[in-house]
Symmetry: C2
Subunit: 107 residues, 2 copies
């Protein structure tokens, strides 16, 4: 699989959200992962379930309740992804400053 699937921003953000919050419903995930559409979240969850990274739990209640959470394998991925997310947060300003300088012709 090389880095495939990992090179998807939404995949990373859903794994980070579930790692941080534990089990979440679809609506909770949509609220946590800023900017994700229902369509993309549905596809992302199906891909993650298929890859064995996320488990889908259906509770036979009224109304029915469905929750998503990381599997053991998904939790092992959460660690490096979270480190990468933290890097992006910490260094965003430096990267943007470098871009501005580059675009201004400063090499």
């Amino acid at each position: 699989m090389s880095l495939a699937r990992l090179d998807n921003k939404w995949t990373a953000m859903v794994v980070i959200a579930l790692g941080r919050c534990g089990a979440l419903r679809f609506g909770g995930l949509r609220a946590t992962v800023e900017g994700i559409s229902a369509k993309v979240l549905t596809e992302t969850l199906r891909d993650l379930e298929r890859d064995g990274l996320v488990a889908r739990h259906e509770y036979a209640e009224m109304p029915p309740r469905v929750e998503y959470e990381l599997t053991d394998l998904g939790r092992t991925l959460h660690v490096p992804l979270q480190a990468l997310g933290r890097w992006a947060e910490e260094h965003a300003a430096e990267v943007l400053a470098a871009r501005e300088a580059y675009d201004a012709g400063c090499r």
Copy 2:
């Protein structure tokens, strides 16, 4: 920047290659990053230079020599990216097995 630019497999692989090998020429990078085309490598290096993650060194020799290496900022990114790359290598078999089971209808 959220996770943008990081959600690019080639970006990740070029940063990992430079972090592992130190300064490399274009040809050396192409040989190290399996499967990358000259066009994509050119674009990736320009993006990384623009983001302040890679420095381009031109040596006034005959024939001229150009080398690429990580900046200090790029080296801080190398650590979490390498951890992610290692995860992908270590868990690829598990992910593929999960996919097969899912596609066979096992839920």
